[in-house]
């Protein structure tokens, strides 16, 4: 009985996979990212922002109309490829994802094989764009962040002895670290032994901070996301350790952690292309829309990248004259040409005048920011 039931169930499940997609008058954009699981915040931010952007595009009532379907990948390459295939069956023509690096590399090779245009909001590793010439990034490439940080710290004389705390189990964090260390070595910065943690032992980060303190570091470089960073700031404050912190774009969002004592972040410096407190019209409008959609949450870096993905695609689709009846491969060829052309540039939330080269990397200027009185201020 049980066996028979299981067989019937399996057959029913398998049968429902066999179906065909229908055509539509809108351009179908897919999104992939972790909506559940420990990395859930990153995917949901991108998902919300992409939905906002698609609504805005459609409200303009132009020839280009988008339809968005966003699939969960739980930050797992296998699930991410499954999500990609689901979207393909749905009739996706352009992929705006994936959100995290390792899944994006796996999905990237599928997209290359299918000649599917892929514009990732936030998968920032060099390996992502190296996968193929139809893969583009909205975020900075990790090595660039490492280089820029080392340059900035050196040119502004921010520290004499530099400690580093990074996530050795994370592609983003190790990607930045690698070029940071190489560049720092070249510039003659005095960098202490980097202190690592993993997602499995990130409960307690005080030992790593203590090691920086004992090593006499006066600046700690944090190529990590804001969640562990908030723990590190608290640990340093608890041990009366007066030290400066320097972060990268993953640090953005730290001021909006619910319950976080923002005075701890006083004086934290970071290189980031987006700040939610910026006063330009686009940012203000976006933050407003995002808050409305999510019951008052403040958009982070990921959300801004996700918004820019849709807006860049909108502009490129307009310029390339993409229509809803084109095949994904034709769309890809047309978009590739537009994105790499000299005249194409996008003014987005994460930078004005963003341009792309043939490698797929974006060129935009990071802003040095410093947190003062619980707000970002330009650091000059």
């Amino acid at each position: 009985m049980k066996k028979a039931l299981s067989l019937v169930l399996t057959a029913a499940l398998a049968a429902s996979f066999v179906m065909s997609a229908s055509a539509a008058e809108v351009i179908k954009i897919g999104g992939i990212g972790p909506v559940t699981g420990p990395a859930g915040i990153y995917g949901s931010s991108v998902k919300n922002a992409m939905e906002i952007a698609v609504d805005e595009v459609n409200a303009m009532g132009g020839d280009i109309q988008f339809e968005l379907q966003f699939e969960d990948d739980t930050h797992d390459a296998e699930v991410s490829v499954n999500a990609y295939n689901t979207l393909k069956d749905w009739g996706m023509q352009i992929l705006g994802g994936t959100v995290t690096t390792n899944p994006c590399i796996a999905v990237g090779s599928e997209a290359v094989a299918d000649n599917m245009f892929l514009l990732t909001p936030s998968a920032s590793s060099q390996d992502v764009i190296d996968t193929g010439d139809n893969i583009f990034q909205v975020c900075f490439t990790d090595p660039n962040q490492g280089l820029a940080s080392a340059d900035y710290i050196s040119s502004q004389n921010l520290g004499t002895k530099i400690g580093v705390i990074y996530n050795s189990g994370d592609a983003y964090s190790t990607g930045i670290l690698n070029t940071f260390l190489a560049k720092a070595d070249e510039l003659g910065l005095d960098v202490l032994e980097p202190q690592a943690f993993t997602d499995d032992n990130s409960t307690d980060l005080t030992t790593q901070v203590q090691a920086c303190k004992d090593g006499g570091a006066d600046l700690i470089f944090l190529p990590i996301y804001y969640t562990p960073a908030s723990q590190i700031l608290k640990a340093a404050s608890d041990m009366d350790y007066e030290v400066k912190f320097f972060g990268v774009d993953g640090m953005d969002g730290i001021l909006d952690v619910e319950g976080f004592d923002t005075s701890l972040a006083e004086g934290v410096m970071l290189l980031t292309p987006f700040v939610a407190t910026a006063t330009d019209d686009a940012t203000v409008a976006f933050v407003e829309a995002y808050k409305e959609k999510t019951d008052g949450q403040i958009p982070n870096q990921f959300a801004a990248d996700g918004y820019d993905v849709v807006m860049a695609l909108y502009k490129a689709c307009t310029e390339a004259g993409i229509t809803a009846d084109m095949s994904a491969s034709d769309v890809c060829d047309a978009l590739k040409e537009v994105f790499t052309s000299d005249s194409f540039s996008v003014d987005g939330l994460t930078g004005s005048g963003m341009t792309w080269d043939a490698s797929g990397a974006v060129s935009k200027a990071p802003h040095g920011m410093v947190i003062e009185n619980g707000e970002y201020q330009p650091m000059d």
Binding site: S168, N201, T203, D204, T206, T207, Q210, T227, Q231, G259
Partner: protein, 293 residues
């Protein structure tokens, strides 16, 4: 002095593990099941305290009491719905259901409270100790956690050894069938065990987050696994063993980070665990299980 600092930090982390491990070992000792969802009950307790204390400003002790009540209710419900129907089946079946419950709690929390991290403010209002002219700091959270841990350990041991329900628990743990024949309400005793374990989880949640303030739906998972390791380390089912195992695990984890390698500290912790278990196959304070033929 440096060594002392790292040692204290290790003990601080270890005391949190120990507190969680006490709940694990309690349930295992009586109900003979690994409650993989224990870490997630801790997370729920953490959220309750967060909303009561950090958001609504309710008195910390009262907040913990609310969380204990909520977790007790949750734990007993889980036991009744998911574990009790499987009584009498192989323990693996219950283990798998417990894993299902763990997924359920994590994903439910994500739907209810969103996946964005929250920063917990310490429920401990007093300040810590500064020794040797401030060169050795012991945080108030650490002191409170260790004291709480020891008090709970003593109370639990007293409860199991000296009270009537405690005796019944021992009997159920020894031989469930015989206990039933002696007129002990086995189901009631197991429910009681889950109630106690879950109430402990609420306290553990509050103290875990007071020391390490990031609160997310997955917050309980890793400390849960580590505490399970600690409980086995000390000899699962043994109350003082859970305490000892937890402290040692925290100390080994932090000393290996400080002196060997931060990259490989997980590997080192688990390697030490394997070696100790090979030398002492039932954990540090575990009873030698005699198999009756």
């Amino acid at each position: 002095m440096q060594f002392l600092t790292y040692l204290v930090r290790g003990i601080s982390l270890g005391s949190v593990y120990a507190l969680i491990a006490l709940g694990y070992t309690m349930v295992y000792g009586i109900a003979r099941m690994l409650n993989f969802a224990h870490g997630d009950v801790i997370m729920v307790g953490g959220y309750v305290v967060f909303f009561a204390f950090c958001k609504s400003g309710i008195n910390p002790l009262l907040s913990i009491l609310i969380a204990m009540a909520a977790c007790t209710l949750l734990g007993m419900t889980i036991e009744k719905v998911a574990y009790k129907p499987l009584r009498g089946t192989p323990s693996l079946a219950v283990l798998i259901t417990a894993i299902g419950v763990s997924y359920f709690l994590q994903n439910g929390a994500m739907l209810l409270w969103k996946s964005d991290p929250k920063s917990f403010s310490s429920i401990v209002g007093i300040s810590g100790l500064n020794l040797f002219d401030g060169r050795l700091q012991i945080s108030a959270e650490t002191i409170v956690t260790i004291i709480t841990c020891i008090v709970i350990m003593i109370v639990l041991m007293w409860f199991v050894k000296k009270t009537k329900p405690g005796h019944a628990m021992q009997a159920v743990s020894e031989d469930r069938g015989a206990a039933q024949l002696m007129g002990i309400n086995v189901n009631g005793i197991i429910s009681l065990t889950f109630a106690i374990g879950s109430a402990l989880a609420a306290i553990a949640g509050a103290l875990l987050l007071s020391s390490y303030p990031t609160l997310m739906p997955t917050t309980g998972a890793m400390p849960g696994i580590k505490a399970f390791t600690a409980a086995v380390f000390g000899g699962i089912g043994s109350i003082p063993g859970a305490f000892l195992g937890g402290i040692l695990l925290g100390v080994i984890e932090n000393l290996s980070k400080a002196y060997i390698s931060t990259q490989l500290s997980d590997a080192i912790v688990f390697l030490v665990l394997i070696i100790i278990l090979l030398v002492k196959p039932t954990g540090l304070l575990g009873k030698k299980a005699t198999v009756k033929v």
